[in-house]
Symmetry: C2
Subunit: 493 residues, 2 copies
């Protein structure tokens, strides 16, 4: 959930000062359009990590929007009045009418997340609360309320740096309380619990938008644009029609994605490669033959751009395995049989029985990658696919199947080099088609799709491993290491 | 859930024999339309009480439809192959392709319901399973599968009569096993668990249809028509469009509703009325002043046709209460303020604080009554309202609010008599309008709406009480009895 927000996003001063006046103008216009149309109300939920700019955002909204049409609700503990009614009462009573904007600092998410962080409740309670939140928001969406749910995030390092900076300056020391450090000590737990909560309550009608809070200019532009999009959406809402799914997450205002954090210069000399490969293959072989694996199974997903080296990496994995212990499922265009059924059908039919490893060379992620970018799937279809995929993988993990997901990443230059090499090498020629060349032109769209995929489907149950693959040797060892460690950890439990 | 299925439905032989040939013709035509259009697959889930005609229905479908395009899956325990994969694997592998029909006896509902009946799991597990079922079906619905979920029901008395009949005949005695009697002993529990499961998994895209199983002709015609509607729906399904909500439940083939079970001749002589009224008012007064009620609250909902006597009954209730302990919320047309917000807003704002009773003279049920019948709300809106209302009332009950819901029922003759009386009595004249007369013409639509409302919102947390109200004295006492007993039971817990 937070992968994209934990890379160093930033906007320079010049860009910021150029953008802001226009943005403010657009915000005001959109706000008046909404007020005039009175088609929907806009509810902005402001939540997230302390110190990630929640307060600053609320101040900003009051400055950038016409404050007469905006009500800010900073909700602490419920009042006597409110405690005497069901928990949602306090939100119902503050619901803005159509045409207006309500900003909620503190929402129906606050209590369930904190309760779980402090272990006052269990995961099933959290999930039930998130289900209730989905129901509540689904109803609101149908009834003329547009929701913008903003989660402000700081990485652990950023959070620590911030607290230390404040504490070291006598003028700001008072801002850092014992409670802040207490919360910081629970950072990992808070991150884990909120990732689960956000994933469970991200729907196609009201998805969470995670905002990197570290850089103020980046954050402010991101929020401003998101609010503008939400105001526009609200002023065009159609009552008596089911609300259309939310538009896809916009690209980050600085254009960066989680793929930019990869160090593609990583490589491995031949000698170390051979040693490592051999060691890991031996380890994998032993794990798959392990007594405990005979009651389990494994699914390995390979995804990556064309020529990223999936085939070569898969061969290094299968070389470690007994032929009866695995099979490779190459995913190409669906057959007629498959096309006549829901899209997950063609993956369900290949699920491994116990003691087996199924290696998917491309997978169900095609829905949110190629089908999204090439527009084979409607936005509504690939947007609901994230939840469906998480649900599918949860079923696998609940059943005892170990799921490893690998994204092999190369840069456009390396891809070009490999394409040219393939064209020149006779026996590799079949591997390159006109389509591959066309796909290269959509590199930007693919980056965005990959970034969304990682943010929305890297779960604690089935996380993604991003593999730097410009150097094939480095990539193959990294792939084997990811698979053996996933399998090793699962068998220890 | 089962209210409408527990009344004595029956179809006479003559009607049956007249209807069947035409129905069979229509079924075949609809099946070929589907096969030709290949727009969706039809999945029929056959579930419910033993002996309620599940097997007979499956045989019938094979006889009435072209059996080459229908696959019946009688699912018992999962095979070795299936146990090695996640639970839904066995359904995925049997999913029919577009154009065809799959009938599932034994489905993703069987195990969760039985596990709960035999107390191997808790309610939270059941709810989670139902959530997974909703996700699965939502995805299927979006991906070109139309679901028809049939639940075959027998009342406890019918079930007992059936077992005794079989056991008393030497030729059929072998059909009744120890297991059947075991199941019968768990009838109440099975009924309760399955009502919860069905309610939680009835959605606007895949609602359950409860079929009264006692009379074979009634059952067969009901199923035949439902399958015909589902085939038609499937052959017109639009891929790449979100599926439209299911059409409303059709009227029972014999035209009967749960309202037909009410004995409207019930009455109370004046003397007994006075005694009873006084006793119950005293009881209610004591309950509301009870120490334990000071931490609770109560919501009483009055619904009923025009002139059913709601006002008079409410006055008999309020006469028992201290003025500070209650207030009456008359629900008329929404104000501008209310119209600008989601429809439940105007009820949330009137929720009672602790120690108080809020009496709603008409309520949120307007959505599924007048708004449905008068077409003020779109079908999609009032259909999702059942789940939203159940969710709303669950929040009340979870919070400790006692919810009593009363439907005051009179027959059309009594209504006419009261209308005429009102027109003749000066001070009652304001109570009768042209609209009241118009509403009378829609009596049939209202009956259907009331019947659906009771089936879909009479929950174990907040059940409906149906009050025979042709005799005002009888009705008022029944109302007070329902309220005091709901409150008394709640305070004892």
């Amino acid at each position: 959930m937070f992968e994209s927000a934990e890379i160093d996003h930033a906007v320079d001063k010049e860009t910021y000062e150029r953008e802001v006046p226009r943005l403010r103008q657009e915000l005001l216009e959109a706000q008046y359009d909404l007020l005039e149309s009175r088609r929907a109300a806009l509810v902005i939920v402001v939540a997230g990590v302390d110190g990630a700019g929640k307060g600053d955002t609320v101040n900003l909204l009051q400055k950038w929007l016409d404050p007469r049409q905006v009500r800010v609700h900073g909700l602490g503990a419920p009042s006597e009045e409110e405690r005497e009614r069901p928990p949602l009462y306090r939100f119902w009573r503050r619901l803005p009418p159509r045409g207006k904007v309500g900003v909620f600092m503190g929402s129906w998410y606050s209590q369930p997340i904190l309760d779980r962080v402090f272990k006052r409740t269990k995961n099933t309670h959290l999930d039930t609360s998130m289900e209730h939140a989905r129901h509540f928001e689904r109803m609101l969406t149908y009834e003329g309320v547009v929701l913008l749910k903003l989660w402000f995030h700081l990485s652990k390092a950023e959070q620590k740096a911030r607290l230390e900076r404040l504490a070291s300056d006598p003028r700001t020391r008072w801002r850092v309380t014992r409670r802040d450090w207490d919360h910081f000590e629970r950072y990992e737990r808070f991150r884990k619990v909120s990732a689960r909560a956000l994933r469970e309550s991200s729907t196609d009608y009201a998805p969470w938008m995670v905002v990197a809070g570290g850089d103020a200019r980046f954050r402010q532009l991101t929020v401003g644009r998101a609010v503008h999009a939400a105001l526009t959406r609200a002023s065009r809402a159609d009552t008596h029609q089911p609300p259309p799914p939310m538009p896809p997450t916009p690209p980050a205002v600085d254009g960066k994605t989680v793929l930019d954090t990869l160090d593609l210069t990583r490589s491995l000399p031949k000698k170390r490669y051979r040693d490592e490969l051999e060691r890991l293959q031996g380890e994998l072989n032993a794990l798959v033959r392990h007594r405990r694996f005979q009651g389990r199974s494994m699914v390995v997903v390979f995804e990556g751009a064309d020529a990223a080296g999936k085939g070569g990496a898969i061969r290094r994995v299968t070389a470690a395995l007994d032929a009866r212990a695995y099979y490779v499922v190459p995913i190409a265009a669906p057959t007629d049989e498959e096309n006549a059924r829901p899209y997950l059908w063609r993956f369900w039919r290949h699920l491994p029985k116990r003691g087996r490893v199924a290696i998917f060379d491309r997978s169900w992620y095609g829905r949110v990658l190629v089908e999204r970018v090439e527009r084979f799937a409607e936005p509504a279809d690939w947007m609901r696919a994230y939840a469906e995929i998480n649900d599918f993988e949860r079923q696998l993990v609940d059943h005892g199947t170990v799921v490893a997901k690998l994204w092999l990443h190369i840069d456009p230059e390396e891809q070009l080099r490999r394409f040219q090499e393939r064209e020149q090498t006779g026996f590799k020629r079949f591997k390159i088609t006109d389509e591959d060349w066309r796909n290269r032109e959509k590199a930007g769209d693919y980056r965005l799709a990959v970034s969304d995929m990682i943010d929305r489907t890297s779960t604690e149950l089935a996380p993604w491993t991003l593999v730097e693959a410009n150097d094939k040797r480095y990539a193959r060892v990294a792939v084997l290491r990811a698979i053996t460690s996933a399998l090793g950890e699962a068998l220890e439990k």
